[in-house]
Symmetry: C2
Subunit: 266 residues, 2 copies
DNA sequence: CCTTGATCGGGTACGTTGTACCCAGTAATA
DNA sequence: TATTACTGGGTACAACGTACCCGATCAAGG
């Protein structure tokens, strides 16, 4: 096959590892570990970023770290759990997050959308990972917390806030899936690699289909114009319309400091 | 592993097979084929619907049809191409599509969204298939053509029409991905199967995280209320807002019969 | 200091996949 | 009837995840 994949290992083990930093460490007998979980996760992410998810297997990760394949299993229960850790780890902040204090709801949500899109562009393999059950690790939670800042000055129910975040996030993800048709790092000269070749292959069939009269509306499209859309454009269009749609509600609930954290505790 | 997956085989072979009905058939020497591509695709879809994508392998498909594993390769070049065929085949109309003639743009798009969501619910494995390159087969094209009916009475550019369809489709897909956390058909009593158990495992860690003070906004959420969202609700919220957002534009471009097909050919 | 036993590195090997290759049986054509 | 393209499908191998094992290591107790 080309690019097998899955997500989510045993949640018990995944959770343990995700929150490992918060567990106390005591000294133990035996040799010092040669690796850390961080090193393995970092190497695995580098590998996936560079060579695609298809190249992510335990032997390759081990080779990346110059250790034996089975040594990885001293730190990580299996590949599924490793993927869980990778997914959370790539959500780590990159340092150029803005301060939400001076931003209104629209700015926060727009930042959320655009940073999510660049995130997918940087780690396209994430879109291939089968995120059945959401593994909420520290980094993912951090992102959620950041997003909630959009509603600091609004009197919205928790449910509505989550609904809006889900909408923005889901929109970007859905569009990214359609467009970030990541060209497999063309190490192997497989059947077809580039996007151009791909369309070239389909074209004659599509052409004949258009001429068949079975797709009257499609055949009237100016193909050149119709498909001239980048993921950025698509996200911008969708988000603009969506934000315009919720704007009345956001304005109606504007109440400075309504939800900002830390008020009632001081 | 648990649920390996991928999509897209050799596009040349996939395209040939997708459009095979339009190719002429001539009589040939040798024994009559015992199977058809349709039978294989149907069996594979039944298998995936029933047992999940994890159970979809060539040996199981062959067993389903009571033939030898390798016989499948007489009809289908490989698993990747079979998946391409499956994806297109499930897009076949189910007979209860409404007539778009009496529907306005909003009704068409709303139907598109809701039918897409029920589609994902019926074939959750589709969400796991890695749809890198879109394989545009006859059924997928038919769906696109249907969607374009929303703009029959509107004077929109092709590009804008595609943008809107992409938005609706992407939104539903993105949300479906977050929510249709398909519970693996629990044939194997694996580590954790049900959604409840899953949350039960995460809860203590989340609890501790909330208490850590690192996620001030998250920890102020009423968890019960905040996550009480179904995919239907989420889609409805997002779509309502989005449609409200594009409504002015749609009204501004209302021009009965502007794009309906077949006018200029009569 | 030496013993003990938990821990570490990692080699070997097996089960599950996709599928290349091969051979024997079959049926339209010459 | 002979030819030959085509069919069913068995065997076998490569890639992968990982169970299991052995020997090396080193904190703690004597």
């Amino acid at each position: 096959m080309a690019t097998p994949q899955t997500g989510a290992g045993d949640p018990v083990r995944s959770s343990e590892l995700l929150w490992r930093a918060f567990e106390p460490q005591h000294t133990r007998p035996g040799p010092k570990p040669r690796l850390t979980v961080e090193q393995i996760v970092t190497a695995a992410i580098a590998l996936a970023d560079r060579d695609g998810l298809g190249a992510l297997n335990m032997r390759n990760v081990a080779a990346e770290l110059d250790v034996g394949t089975m040594s990885l299993y001293r730190y990580v229960p299996g590949k599924g759990e490793l993927l869980d850790l990778m997914v959370d780890a790539v959500n780590a902040p990159d340092g150029d997050e803005p301060d939400t204090a001076g931003m209104d709801w629209r700015e926060v949500l727009e930042y959320l959308a655009s940073s999510t899109l660049t995130f997918y562009a940087a780690h396209p393999w994430i879109l291939e990972v089968n995120q059945k059950r959401p593994v909420l690790g520290p980094q993912s939670l951090r992102g959620l917390d950041f997003a909630l800042a959009a509603f600091d000055d609004h009197d919205l129910s928790d449910r509505e806030a989550i609904l809006i975040i889900t909408a923005v996030f889901g929109t970007v993800t859905g569009i990214a899936l359609s467009y970030l048709i990541q060209d497999v790092p063309a190490d192997q000269g497989g059947p077809v690699s580039t996007e151009e070749e791909w369309w070239e292959v389909q074209l004659p069939y599509l052409q004949r289909a258009m001429e068949s009269g079975r797709f009257p509306r499609m055949s009237r499209l100016d193909q050149e114009d119709a498909w001239n859309v980048t993921p950025e454009t698509a996200v911008r269009h969708t988000l603009d319309a969506y934000l315009a749609g919720i704007a009345p509600r956001m304005e109606a609930t504007y109440r400075p400091g309504a939800r900002s954290p830390g008020r009632d505790a001081t």
